[in-house]
Symmetry: C2
Subunit: 339 residues, 2 copies
DNA sequence: TTGTACGCGTTATCAA
DNA sequence: TTGATAACGCGTACAA
């Protein structure tokens, strides 16, 4: 059961190590009969190629990295699962690299990781995907990367995104269609580009319904549950209390629902609340949250696939947009509805 | 800015590559002056040692793996963060390996990973930590590993755990002290050893208070929110409705609170609910959940530290028990309390 | 179609 | 305390 090498396989199947190498890499010029013999020997001996040896000799490490700096367990889990699923299909290994609150040394840490491990490529999740210095640093190494939901900065690397503005527009229209005319908005983290887009979608929808966006109460949030609490308390303390709150993500929406419970405001009878992302949390709180389903898993799965194509020097689309959809649950209803 | 090698550093500092290697590995027999010169050259050239080269030449890959098969985003996130934090301190890389619902090929997949990547060691989280075949397979490779919260199976590998039974005992005593005498229990996933311990703690506490455990309603859950819904519906449909529900984890407790909301049962006035784990969810739902804080992050951090010691062939304790504590929040109160 | 010789960047052995 | 040289397991260039 001890580890065996390409030399052992070569000896066992009566060929040279080079031929074994050819079979390993699916190179064309090998006689089918030979290929079969080598394959048999490999499985019989339970041969596993050494990744370090391959990456030292060849140009590839068969390793890619997933970079994130995001405190949301649900989001990180979804993104990792998507990337892993694609890696599993393609025999790649995934190195996860959380970059939590490290400030300055972030770039250095990433570069050190890149140089040490000989990574083949990187998938970058928001908000890192909008980090210009990081992008420049990766560029300086000539490393392929794919960004998920970056900001509008022009760069040749492929991006995977959803239409945050359109989604926020739809959600707002839905609330307006229910009859709400005073809708409190909780903005997302200023560092995330999607925060800006979601606000714009909200405002555009209001305008298209002839409602003045400037008259709607807007509070700053930071994507955390706690920031949702604070923002919602402010919104609900207004003299003209909104009949609905649209939070830029589910965690903050959960905060709004929490505050409503505290204040004895019934949801959705007296207050509608909607979120964004459709994380597991959305269907775990009461009432279950109307939200926008963001395909985080699929975005990451797709991004990883693109990265692999990029590494193989295949042509890849500059931008891929994935579909979202409105998930209507029990946290929204017409305002002050009868009983 | 291009990558430079040990040879470049050797040339720049006027020594042989072997001496650079010695400095790199903190070997003793290097003159301080020489060491300083080499160090300077390394930082000046921004030298980064090649991990693949090191693992090919040496015995170590500086890579460890974290194995998990757990659908809970919060748990996985906590465990990963803990392991990463320790890795960051010690210049190790972490390979995360989710093994989702794959059944049979699980062992093969792990062994392939081990053989290909030349991992130095493994941290195993529940429920995999109780998988006898996996343990045996890892043993067959002579690979060091540390298990988090395994079952009682005797094995020489170090384990890190908390006292699930004592914690469940405390929580139950707390509910009894509040005055509850009819407490519904939702069991955890049958595959997790901790599920058994938590039930035993519950029953032991009842017995020590002179309450017959056999008369308390117990439902099977599977650690998911949905299974909590199902179990809670059963418990609350009883003719003799319990005044409290103790769920074996937070997700299921959230399910119980959800059902209470649906049924119009006020929490905690008419029904107390408590959970286990103290995930982020516990303080995000309303009312916030009384629960047991399980130190998942610390357990993983500790386990990773032990693994590193194990790899270095240092002596490590066979078992490490981390402290838990009861977190009292608003979801529990005396039964049918005045007002 | 197949094989030989060399190099990848580092650690290990042994000698100086 | 230091250095020359041989591994480590594989891919690449070139030859057969």
């Amino acid at each position: 059961m001890a580890r065996c090498t390409i030399t052992d396989v070569a000896a066992a199947s009566g060929v040279s190590i080079k031929t074994v190498s050819r079979v390993l890499n699916d190179e064309p010029s090998v006689r089918p009969e030979t290929r079969r013999r080598v394959r048999e020997a490999m499985t019989a001996m339970n041969y596993q190629p050494s990744l370090p040896a391959r990456s030292l000799a060849g140009r590839r490490s068969s390793l890619i990295a997933l970079l994130f700096e995001n405190p949301s367990a649900n989001y990180v889990f979804a993104v990792q699962s998507g990337a892993m699923a694609k890696c599993r299909e393609t025999q790649l290994r995934l190195l996860v690299q959380p970059l939590n609150d490290l400030g300055e040394p972030l770039i250095e840490e990433v570069l050190a990781m890149v140089d040490q491990t000989h990574i083949d490529g990187v998938v970058i999740t928001p908000p890192l995907s909008a980090n210009a210095e990081l992008i420049a640093a990766l560029d300086s190494r000539g490393l392929p990367f794919v960004r998920i939901a970056p900001d509008g900065t022009s760069h040749s690397s492929p991006i995977v995104e959803m239409d945050d503005e359109a989604a926020a527009h739809e959600m707002t229209s839905y609330l307006l269609a229910l009859g709400h005319r005073r809708i409190g908005f909780i903005k997302g983290h200023p560092g995330h580009h999607s925060s800006k887009l979601r606000l714009e979608g909200f405002q555009a929808a209001l305008a298209s319904w002839g409602v003045d966006p400037a008259e709607q109460p807007v509070e700053q949030g930071y994507n955390s549950f706690e920031s949702g609490l604070t923002a919602a308390r402010r919104l609900l303390a207004c003299t003209q209390r909104p009949t609905a709150i649209f939070a830029s993500n589910d965690d903050m929406a959960a905060g709004a629902i929490f505050v409503a419970h505290e204040f004895g405001i019934r949801v959705p009878d007296e207050l509608s609340v909607s979120g964004f992302d459709d994380t597991q949390l959305a269907s775990t709180i009461y009432p279950p949250l109307t939200t926008v389903h963001q395909p985080s898993y699929t975005m990451s799965y797709t991004a990883t696939g693109l990265l692999i194509d990029l590494i193989k020097r295949n042509a890849v689309p500059a931008s891929t947009q994935l579909a979202h959809n409105l998930v209507k649950r029990a946290s929204t209803a017409p305002p002050r509805r009868a009983n």
